[in-house]
């Protein structure tokens, strides 16, 4: 049986039942919710915790939360957080050690992570997780911390009903429709102020969860509506990555004057890398206590925009803002292909929105392409 073909329809009460069913199965349910005038990802208990009736307005260096004129549950795009904060947390203790009676004992961090159920995961984000899977799980060495958090997670995807001002997934071919990597995928259909959700099944676990929910079969009209919603979103992207071989373009223009231009504007603050759902770099920090008997090693998010990041004996390799911005962008859009087989960008637009001075990765590529 082809997983994608079984479609049914849930009401808002059905989504509520979905949250309860996931909790009953032992999942920690996390999803979008309003906090500090933004839509962030956090623990949610019920549909009421979702940003119902809210939307976001996004542009370079600009984000505002606005009221919608309906009660849509998922009427916004992606915010300042990404699922990375759960799967690849900002700080992760690796081990600790204690010296007692002349003996040193090392203890690995063995805290068992929660089983997450992620609600409202967008297509770009599923693609980002697939990219981090290749980074952390591909190759001969799997990262055990990421693996433990990743392998039992449940994904409820949402096909985007609108595109944001900095979205460009359509040009990266990573959305707006979730194609793979989910257990269930919802498309929110608003009719007469009432939300109904077309549900697509993506896994056996998803099928089991759905089976216990109050639902009705999808009609041909429902399916046509959902297809129309995604098509409309595709057509209204706020940004687009220029077409062509970006990898070749960047690698052939490593001395393009545009790098100096962007370096004038870049704050080297690291925000773009922190909000990027695929950026994975970390640093390790060793700390010891005052008595010198206990020590621990922690891994924390780092950024190729910091001086420490490229510090080797004698100094930092990439000391100029130009070198650091170029490193980030050429890795993301070019050498990522050589390293992991795909682009490192999924077109979510976070680096554009959350850059404090609105530097736009698509615009920088366009400038280099245009020979400016």
């Amino acid at each position: 049986m082809e997983a994608g073909r079984e479609q049914s329809v849930l009401t808002v009460a059905g989504v509520e039942a979905l949250f309860a069913a996931l909790r009953d199965r032992g999942y920690r349910v996390v999803g979008p919710t309003v906090r500090d005038q933004a839509i962030v990802y956090d623990d949610i208990a019920a549909v009421d915790d979702l940003p119902r009736g809210w939307t976001d307005e996004q542009d370079g260096g600009h984000y505002r939360l606005n009221r919608r004129d309906d009660d849509a549950l998922f009427g916004y795009v992606v915010g300042p957080h990404s699922w990375k904060k759960f799967l690849h947390p900002p700080r992760q203790r690796l081990w600790s050690a204690k010296r007692e009676d002349g003996e040193t004992r090392v203890t690995a961090d063995v805290t068992e992570p929660p089983r997450f159920a992620f609600i409202g995961v967008r297509a770009c984000e599923l693609n980002a997780i697939a990219i981090q899977d290749r980074v952390f799980l591909g190759g001969p060495f799997a990262d055990p911390h990421y693996q433990a958090r990743r392998e039992d997670a449940f994904f409820v995807a949402v096909n985007c009903g609108q595109a944001g001002g900095t979205c460009f997934c359509a040009s990266m071919k990573t959305g707006p429709k979730a194609e793979a990597g989910f257990d269930l995928a919802l498309t929110e259909m608003l009719e007469g102020g009432e939300s109904r959700f077309l549900v697509e099944v993506g896994s056996d676990e998803g099928r089991d969860v759905l089976a216990a929910l109050p639902r009705e079969p999808a009609t041909a009209a429902d399916e046509a509506t959902a297809i129309g919603i995604v098509a409309r979103t595709t057509a209204s992207m706020g940004r687009a990555m220029p077409e062509g071989d970006i990898r070749e373009l960047l690698l052939e223009n490593l001395e393009h004057p545009r790098w100096d231009d962007v370096a004038e504007r870049c704050l080297t603050c690291g925000n773009c890398t922190m909000v990027c759902p695929t950026c994975f770099c970390t640093s390790v920090e060793d700390t010891s206590d005052l008595t010198g008997t206990e020590t621990s090693r922690e891994r924390r998010w780092d950024s190729c925009f910091t001086m420490d990041f490229s510090y080797i004996h004698g100094g930092s390799v990439r000391s100029s803002a130009k070198a650091r911005y170029r490193q980030w962008m050429t890795h993301k859009l070019a050498t990522w292909f050589d390293q992991f087989g795909t682009s490192g960008c999924v077109g979510c637009g976070r680096c554009v929105t959350w850059c404090p001075v609105g530097i736009d990765i698509t615009e920088e590529v366009r400038a280099i392409q245009g020979g400016d």
Binding site: C269, M274, P356
Partner: protein, 259 residues
């Protein structure tokens, strides 16, 4: 059997408000461990007891504002193996460095009933402008966790973990929503040295730059954006005219936008 040598600590005060020394006293949970690990030989804010001689570690708070202080800091250097400066006064001259851009006589005449009693230099300068220092801990005031970290690192003979990147990194690590992007609140976080744990943005306020310039600040680019948010030159100049006003990148930016 000989007792293990406990390093001797001295805490020195120059022109300052004492807030950074207070951070050390504020280390309630760690204070006993500190006292166990080191001999607090000179710390006027904590004790009248005073052991003279040489000190293994000197923590220096405050800036140099008088000829007498300029002499005294050389003496501190002479009797200390390691000198660590703590706080914005000691590392950048502090808020009192505003005098560096004004006529100190005029200031004194406004502040003091008998300005003729005041003997002061025309400038307030960082400790490192006068003597060699081993390490500078930023902040107005310093963060007590960072102070414990620096002392622990000194005792373990390792490098302290006090990253010089932006406050933005700290906001992102704790999941704080960017106040500038999401609320339009002017914020110095992108040009400011980490260390406070991104305190102000977590309470919905912009960063005031208490920890001074980060490792590679691009203040002109940030100022362009602040003016787009509606700040005029005078306001921009003022945000750089606080506790770290004489730190070079902040001073240059302040001057670029007039007085």
């Amino acid at each position: 059997m000989a007792e293990a040598h406990k390093p001797r600590l001295a805490v020195w005060k120059f022109a300052s408000c004492d807030g950074c020394q207070l951070s050390l006293l504020d280390c309630e949970d760690e204070l006993l461990a500190v006292a166990d690990a080191i001999d607090i030989a000179y710390f006027m804010e904590a004790t009248r007891g005073h052991i003279s001689g040489r000190y293994d570690l000197s923590l220096v708070e405050g800036s140099i504002t008088t000829a007498h202080a300029a002499e005294r800091i050389r003496e501190v250097r002479r009797i200390s193996d390691v000198v660590i400066t703590i706080g914005a006064c000691a590392t950048a001259g502090g808020i009192q460095a505003l005098r560096n851009f004004a006529d100190v006589k005029e200031y004194a005449s406004i502040v003091y009933a008998r300005p003729d009693y005041i003997s002061t230099l025309a400038t307030s300068t960082a400790i490192a402008d006068h003597i060699r220092v081993e390490f500078e801990l930023r902040g107005c005031p310093i963060n007590k966790r960072q102070l414990v970290e620096v002392v622990s690192a000194y005792l373990a003979k390792r490098k302290p973990v006090t990253p010089a990147h932006s406050v933005c990194v700290e906001c992102k690590l704790r999941g704080t929503v960017c106040v500038m992007v999401a609320h339009g609140t002017p914020c110095l976080g992108p040009v400011t040295h980490a260390g406070c744990g991104a305190l102000c943005p977590a309470y919905d306020r912009g960063c005031y730059g208490c920890f001074g310039p980060m490792e590679t600040p691009n203040a002109p680019a940030l100022s362009d954006w602040l003016s787009r948010l509606g700040m005029d030159d005078r306001s921009i100049s003022r945000v750089y005219s606080t506790f770290n006003t004489d730190a070079e990148p902040f001073r240059e930016e302040k001057e670029r936008h007039g007085r």
